[in-house]
């Protein structure tokens, strides 16, 4: 063992640059692999820490009108169904969305306002999800307005069982006192409950009617129960309910809808989504989710990067063959055993890998908590990823042994007496193998680079996509604490010089926070997406009125887009819930470029409190000063309010594409790593070749080659490899990128210059490296070389 360790250290010392490049490449690859595996582990084990997760299901109906699976469901039907089925062990409801609001906490010396994530639910939720109550009483949660608080939130907020908190202004029924009756142990981060700090029992009062879809419903089934039995009975009950509702509608209005529309409205299928198979359902916007294809892609990238790094590793050991073969034979002459030397060789490989892995863990430790975490949902902490580390270590050792076994066997197979003048590494077969391995690296790098470039351009395209408003000089001010005093805040803002207009909305206009409504209109079911805004929103946001008058201050009204008008037949003067449509505007797409055209309606009226403000600035306004003034205005309106978040509308819009941005950054990051490792490999090989071919270079120079022609000779070889690899990589990347772009309703056209740009970059970097390395060999005095060899 001691000898092996000595050999390992000697190798490190003797081949410093090559060893360092290898360790650096492997360390980078292991870092990338670790990060990806941490994310994959997070995704694959999502919800699995919840007790009996395999028996808990979320009920998800398919809405034909909205064209998708919903996370909210008509509650009474769910409970009626459960009552009739003995295999349902428990059933509970919880609002699908998490309200990011605040509560007031009474302290000695006054009240303190604290932000928290709260959901409304009913008491059986604690049983369905097996909450681990560490203080208080589970039974007490049955009281209305009782709250259960997570341990971490209770500690942070300084509350305990018996504390009273009051709902702040932005909540429904502000001032309502809530009693803390239980503290529960925090759920694991990768569960649907982890981001919820406070569970309030509201006895699902907003879900007692089948027409109010405000709650998700979860059922826990007994072992061996078939979820399809539940789904079948549920659909039957929904049809019965629909028939009854329709009869009431016809009786009240005298209107009938076509049979086709009726069938569409009454037929509803439901699926029971198991908790342990929940994460990859991306249709539920209110719950965390991830794309299966992205996870698989990431996993594939992780393996590609490790393989790219191991190719360097194999090349390194191949390159050492001719250098060490003489030493090995001399050792054999003096009695060294064949297997001892093979073991030494293998142990060296394992040693290198272990050093690289330790380096990778140091890198991970250093970057944990940095910007990297913004792009990774899973925890990077080493303590949370022991299983991942063990897997990486085992995989790394297996690959190290795999990479070193052939050179170890080759180098020791000759008779000790044989004077070996040229080994495998200098033979044509050796060169061909090295070229093949380098080619694989280039292909992987180019594919990743092309894909990263396409992702990046698509992201930029989406961010700049015209959603139908004038976004220049427009600020988005998020101040939910001021939603109860939005009018006063707007008045304060309008007094500030430099502000030309202020509009408000109940939710951020950019993204998916809106209300979906469906009504029977003109003999058909019509679904519409609704955003609540202030009366002056069209003017402040720069949305022209195409027909009608727009909103009138103090009067409820709707404005629809021209697309919606065409699609639904609705027009000026028509009514939606007895409120008149007063104007038509051009199509706006608040949900962004990756959403298809949908029916869109703006509502202005008293129904919703507004906590988001859109501030139009005059050109040339000092943003920093304006930001301070807006914050000061907020303070004047509500001294206890938390500071508003202020950003340009551009940034708010960019957030809509957060997932695409994440994918782009992650793929670009890993593409960069792959390219860096590949170039390290190229550098290592050129280093080896220039050393190995010193005599050839000298002889060529003796016979008239110039330094330039020697450098050109090396470059020609790599230019040919790069070109051949490009011919393979470009079509593959083209297909992958094309498939990825399919998911966007509005997307870029793939252009030839994208792969050509990648070719140019790779070729340039390679030429730079090859020139740098080969120039030294090319400028050596041939006289020194021919006499020294």
């Amino acid at each position: 063992m001691k000898t092996a360790l000595n050999n390992f250290i000697t190798t490190l010392k003797r081949y410093k640059i090559a060893s360092l490049l290898n360790i650096a490449g492997l360390a980078l690859a292991f870092t990338a692999f670790y990060i990806i595996m941490a994310q994959v582990h997070y995704s694959m084990t999502f919800n699995s820490s919840i007790k009996d997760s395999e028996r808990i299901y979320m009920l998800s109906p398919y809405s034909e009108i909205f064209g998708g699976w919903e996370e909210s469901v008509p509650n009474p039907i769910c409970y009626d169904t459960a009552e009739e089925l003995p295999f349902v062990e428990a059933i509970a409801s919880m609002t699908s969305y998490t309200a990011e609001g605040s509560v007031w906490i009474n302290r000695e010396g006054g009240s303190e306002r604290i932000a928290c994530n709260m959901v409304n639910c009913n008491s059986p939720l604690l049983d369905v999800f097996s909450f681990d109550i560490i203080a208080g009483n589970r039974e007490d949660f049955k009281q209305e307005d009782a709250v259960a608080v997570s341990e971490s939130a209770a500690n942070a907020m300084g509350i305990t069982v018996g504390s009273i908190v009051n709902l702040a202004d932005e909540n429904l029924n502000p001032g309502t006192p809530l009693t803390v009756v239980a503290i529960f142990k925090d759920f694991e981060k990768n569960t649907i409950l982890s981001d919820k700090q406070m569970f309030r029992n509201d006895n699902r009062k907003n879900g007692m009617d089948n027409q109010n879809w405000n709650y998700s419903v979860f059922v826990k089934l007994k072992d061996g129960a078939d979820p399809n039995d539940y789904a079948a009975l549920w659909s039957k009950k929904f049809r019965e309910f629909g028939e009854q509702l329709y009869a009431e509608y016809v009786a009240a209005t005298g209107n009938e809808i076509s049979n086709e529309e009726k069938a569409k409205a009454l037929e509803m299928t439901i699926k029971l989504v198991p908790m342990d198979d929940f994460y990859f359902n991306t249709e539920y916007e209110d719950y965390p989710s991830g794309s299966w294809s992205t996870t698989v892609t990431m996993l594939a990238i992780a393996f590609v990067i490790v393989i790219v790094a191991f190719i360097n590793f194999i090349n390194f050991f191949m390159a050492l063959i001719p250098v060490r073969i003489r030493t090995v034979n001399i050792c054999k002459v003096f009695g060294a055993g064949k297997w001892t030397m093979r073991m030494n060789f293998l142990l060296e490989a394992v040693g290198l890998v272990v050093v690289a892995l330790v380096t990778a863990l140091c890198i991970v430790h250093a970057i944990d908590g940095s910007f990297v975490n913004e792009y990774i949902t899973g925890s990077l902490a080493i303590a949370d990823n022991i299983a991942t580390i063990s897997f990486v270590l085992a995989a790394a050792i297996v690959m190290a042994l795999g990479a070193a076994i052939y050179p170890a066997l080759y180098i020791t197979r000759f008779n000790a007496s044989m004077a070996v003048r040229s080994g495998f590494a200098s033979s044509k077969a050796g060169r061909a193998l090295r070229s093949l391995l380098v080619s694989l690296q280039f292909i992987a790098s180019m594919i990743l680079m092309i894909i990263a470039l396409v992702f990046s351009i698509q992201y930029r395209y989406m961010v700049r996509y015209d959603i139908g408003i004038e976004r220049e000089n427009l600020l988005a001010v998020e101040a939910p604490d001021l939603s109860g005093k939005s009018n006063i805040f707007i008045e304060e803002l309008e007094k500030i010089p430099g502000i030309s207009g202020v509009a408000s909305a109940n939710n951020s206009l950019f993204g998916h926070s809106h209300s979906e409504q469906s009504r029977a209109i003109k003999n058909r079911m019509v679904a519409i997406n609704l955003w609540s805004v202030s009366h002056n929103a069209p003017e402040v946001l720069g949305i022209p009125i195409l027909a009608g008058e727009g909103f009138t201050e103090g009067k409820d009204g709707f404005i629809i887009t021209d697309y919606t008008s065409k699609a639904t037949g609705l027009g000026i003067g028509d009514k939606w819930d007895d409120v008149e449509i007063t104007g038509i505007i051009p199509h706006i797409n608040f949900m962004g470029a990756n959403s298809p055209k949908i029916n869109t309606m703006l509502y202005s009226g008293q129904l919703y409190a507004h906590g988001i403000f859109y501030v139009r600035l005059n050109r040339g306004t000092d943003i920093e000063a304006m930001s301070k003034e807006i914050k000061a205005a907020a303070k004047r309106v509500e001294p206890n309010a938390s500071e508003p978040d202020i950003e340009f509308a551009d940034s708010a819009i960019a957030k809509v594409y957060g997932d695409t941005k994440k994918q782009t950054v992650v793929i670009s990051f890993f593409a960069l790593i792959a390219v860096a490792i590949s170039l390290m490999g190229v550098f290592g090989i050129v280093l080896f070749e220039t050393q190995h071919r010193r005599r050839e270079i000298a002889v060529r120079k003796v016979y008239g080659a110039t330094s330039g022609s020697v450098v050109a000779m090396f470059n020609r070889r790599y230019a040919a490899i790069v070109t051949a690899c490009f011919a393979i990589a470009a079509p593959i990347a083209w297909i992958i990128a094309g498939n990825w772009l399919e998911q966007f309703a509005n997307r870029i056209e793939l252009s030839l210059w994208l792969p050509l740009a990648v070719l140019a970059i790779v070729a340039l970097l390679t030429a730079l490296l090859v020139t740098l390395r080969s120039w030294k060999a090319a400028t050596e005095n041939p006289a020194d070389v021919v006499k020294s060899i």
């Binding site: 003048r421 040229s422 200098s426 044509k428 060169r431 005599r695 050839e696 000298a698 002889v699 060529r700 120079k701 003796v702 016979y703 008239g704 080659a705 110039t706 330094s707 022609s709 005095n781 041939p782 006289a783 021919v786 006499k787 060899i789």
Partner: protein, 226 residues
Amino acid sequence: MLKVENLKKSFFTEEIETIALNGVSFEVKEGEFVAVMGPSGCGKSTLLNILGLLDNPTNGKYTLLGKEVGGLREKERTQFRKGNLGFVFQSFNLIDEMTVFENVELPLVYMGVKASERKQRVNSILERMNISHRAGHFPQQLSGGQQQRVAIARAVVSSPKLVLADEPTGNLDSKNGQEVMHLLQELNREGTTIIMVTHSQHDAQYASRTICLFDGQIVTDVANKL
């Protein structure tokens, strides 16, 4: 052909000056076959490198083919070597990855000779060296004697005016060594000027003149009886 006057060459390592040549002067006429002898470290190879324009002298004059070449820059030396000088090394210095044909062709490639002419000239010299049947082989597949014949073919394929040979028989057995010496002698008789560094008294007898070096200086310079 060439004339050196008061040639000096020093090497500096860690501020220590090592004098390899110390005031060497001689002249070689066209068609001569000169053997340079002397103990190891006396400056033979250094002298050969300077004569072959692989290195520059530290001081002194070197006139080759009527041109002062002692102070040429590397690029100019490379240019001058093409077609004028041929080299034969002790360790052959053939390129392992190239065939015999390609090795011999190399000087013509750098001279910019057309492919058809290259082929004709290479085949002709390989036949002359009695090695044409091995044209497609790699150096590793040849015996030492055959490798040196290839090296000589490469040295003379461009019809150089001067061939410099650095211990051309040093790695060969006596039979192959003798063969190589006969080849060099034959080339010399055909008009090629040859300067050969050797340790072997026997090989030196093939030359028309022997220069002996000791500590970087010429101690004897005598004509041989042929």
